[in-house]
């Protein structure tokens, strides 16, 4: 076994353990030199990224990889914690680490006037470790632990500017929501544990009977995770915390929200995947509940799109406006899942007897669109938040009423804002268009109204950001004269995101076949997920 194989074999554990170790060390390193902590945090993330790329290559060529903590041999019953990394986990991990890397580069100058920076980087690294743990773990209680790490560290980061009352208030809201959500997740885990005496997702998925208690556990899990992902009726915390956190933290929060969304996906497609992704005739009795859940998710998603966009139109605070746009974007992702669930159909032979269940082709298309959109949402919204951060850093202004004529001073930022604007609104040459087109096509086939609402949402988003563009970047020069150029590190950070957006916008097919489709297939392939654990696939 070569050294590279050893690295790959231990990569799942190391990818989570290295940011943890970095978080424990960063305060000690920070005593050496002023900038040492930033450099150290960046190096930690880069090292994590190296291992992640190794693991990516391996998982995309060889399939699911498991890692058992404490003992190399898998024994049944599964008593140890294990990580189960499939293409979907990798897809999420790539998004998270890239966003965190960008956040670190951005924070180089952005945070330089603050005290307590060593703890800032500690918490950011802990946030990273928490998200990576959430997406890699194959154990449901371990998922809860990482959910809590993510929630607590991001709540502390939201309240980082403690001298501002609104920041503390937003942080308190966030921790309240995440604490209650996590406690209900734990309650659902306990319900499942009490019935099946297992905590491994694959083992639980294999043995779930869909009894009344299972249904309650499912509802609790979905509601609390959707709350943390910011789905419509439970999105109230999201604009507050997104808009009051420092810009690098907002990027981290976007990634953390997506990790919760990943939790929703895992619950539907893996934990309860036997019911939802299966096409056996035996599942005929659960078909109604599947379709009902799908319609419910579609309804909430459409409301999220409309409410997010309409609320965004009314905002004058730039970051809050983008946060409401993020609510709408999350709606698009849930629209993908909902359409997939509603697209199941029963084939009936002439005698009226059901012969088969299948998923209509546009269902899978919608799911692909949703998962593709997850990536686009992270990068587009992330870029816009960075632009808002630059504007705040340069002008110390967050209200659109007081901003004007920025294009004269900040050429690069203006260009990045236009890129982000077009990407969020789903205009053709950029990545947002590719994923939204998939969603429009598929939802239109399910019900034309859905497609129309989705398109209207996009158009309104375009209107929102064009309004912002005219208000902030065009028009007369600012009365203030202390507007200076944006620092180089911020341009690099925005440039990375913009480059990714443009490249994927130019080659959406390549990205779709090489990343989105494997991720979707990994989600849908329920038996390979369970067999990787149950039929020792170490």
């Amino acid at each position: 076994m070569s050294i590279l194989d050893t690295f790959v074999a231990h990569a799942p554990a190391l990818i989570v353990a290295i940011p943890l170790l970095g978080a424990f060390l960063v305060q000690l390193v920070g005593r050496l030199h002023e900038k040492a902590k930033v450099v150290f945090a960046l190096l930690t993330i880069l090292l994590t990224n190296c291992f992640l790329y190794l693991l990516t290559y391996d998982v995309f060529t060889n399939g699911i990889r498991t890692y058992i903590f404490g003992n190399a041999d898998l024994t049944l019953p599964v008593v140890r914690i294990l990580f189960e990394v499939d293409a979907m986990s990798i897809y999420m991990a790539l998004i998270s680490t890239t966003l965190i890397l960008v956040a670190f580069i951005f924070s180089w100058v952005y945070m330089k006037d603050n005290t307590g920076l060593d703890k800032f980087y500690t918490l950011m690294l802990l946030l990273t470790a928490g998200m990576l743990g959430m997406v890699f773990t194959g154990d449901i209680f371990n998922f809860f632990v990482f959910l809590e790490i993510t929630g607590i560290s991001s709540a502390a980061l939201v309240a980082f500017w403690v001298h501002k009352a609104e920041a503390v208030e937003a942080g308190f809201k966030y921790i309240l929501i995440s604490a209650i959500g996590a406690l209900f997740v734990l309650f659902a885990i306990a319900l499942l544990y009490g019935q099946y005496d297992a905590l491994n997702i694959a083992v639980l998925a294999q043995s779930i009977q869909f009894t009344f208690l299972d249904k309650i556990a499912l509802v609790i899990l979905l509601v609390s995770l959707a709350m943390k992902a910011g789905l419509f009726p439970m999105h109230m915390w999201l604009p507050d915390s997104y808009s009051r956190a420092p810009a690098p933290v907002t990027i981290g929060l976007v990634a953390a929200t997506l990790a919760s969304f990943y939790g929703v996906l895992r619950v539907i497609f893996s934990l309860y995947g036997g019911i939802y992704s299966g096409t056996d005739l035996a599942l005929l009795s659960t078909l109604t509940s599947t379709k009902f859940m799908g319609s419910l998710l579609i309804g909430l998603a459409l409301l999220a799109i409309l409410v997010g966009v309409i609320m965004a139109l009314r905002q004058t605070d730039l970051k809050r406006l983008i946060a409401f746009a993020a609510v709408a974007e999350i709606g698009y992702m849930f629209l993908g899942i909902g359409t997939w669930m509603a697209a199941k159909t029963v084939h009936v032979d002439p005698d009226g007897i059901a012969t088969a269940i299948s998923i209509l082709p546009y269902g899978n298309l919608a799911l692909q669109g949703g998962i593709f959109h997850l990536f686009n949402d992270a990068f587009d919204i992330g870029l816009l938040f960075l632009v808002a951060g630059v504007i705040f850093f340069v002008t110390k202004e967050r209200s659109l009423d007081n901003l004007s004529g920025l294009a004269r001073h900040m050429k690069a930022t203006t260009i990045f804002f236009i890129i982000g604007l077009c990407a969020v609104a789903g205009l053709p040459p950029l990545n947002g268009f590719a994923s939204k087109l998939l969603l429009y096509e598929s939802t239109f086939q399910l019900n034309p109204i859905l497609g129309i609402v989705a398109i209207v949402g996009s158009i309104l988003l375009l209107a929102v950001f064009v309004k912002v563009f005219y208000a902030a970047f065009m028009g007369p020069d600012l009365i203030k004269t202390n507007v200076h150029k944006e620092p180089r590190s911020m341009i690099i950070a925005m440039g990375i995101l913009a480059a990714v957006i443009i490249i994927i916008g130019l080659f959406p097919d390549l990205f779709l076949t090489h990343f989105v489709e494997p991720a979707t297939d990994a989600l849908l392939n329920f038996s390979s997920y369970t067999n990787a654990v149950l039929i020792g696939g170490v």
Binding site: G70, V79, G116, F141, I152, D197
Partner: protein
């Protein structure tokens, strides 16, 4: 008491009632207290604790060996909380 506030109260009350009904139902449908429905994993842990981990205390063997990674996460959470509290009460001026 604004109008919006009472509207929220009603919504909250409805939500609370639904949660209460579901929770009470789930409590009634649980397996009988004291007779676990299924115990394969825990039995394997009890029998394996002494041999595999060398600990007489099966709970400690779960905490630090079988589910050691959870404990790392738990220690990390405490670390996070300490860092968070220190961040909130840091000195704001250099």
């Amino acid at each position: 008491m604004s109008k919006q506030f009472s509207y929220r109260m009603i919504l909250g009350a409805v939500f609370f009632t639904i949660v209460a009904v579901f929770f009470i139902f789930s409590a009634l449908m649980m397996h009988s207290f004291g007779i676990p429905a299924e115990s394969a994993m825990d039995d394997a842990i009890i029998t394996g604790a002494q041999e595999e981990t060398g600990a007489n205390n099966a709970v400690t063997s779960v905490v630090f060996d079988f589910r050691g990674f959870d404990t790392l996460g738990e220690a990390t959470i405490l670390f996070t909380a300490v860092a968070g509290v220190l961040v909130l009460f840091r000195r704001l001026k250099k």
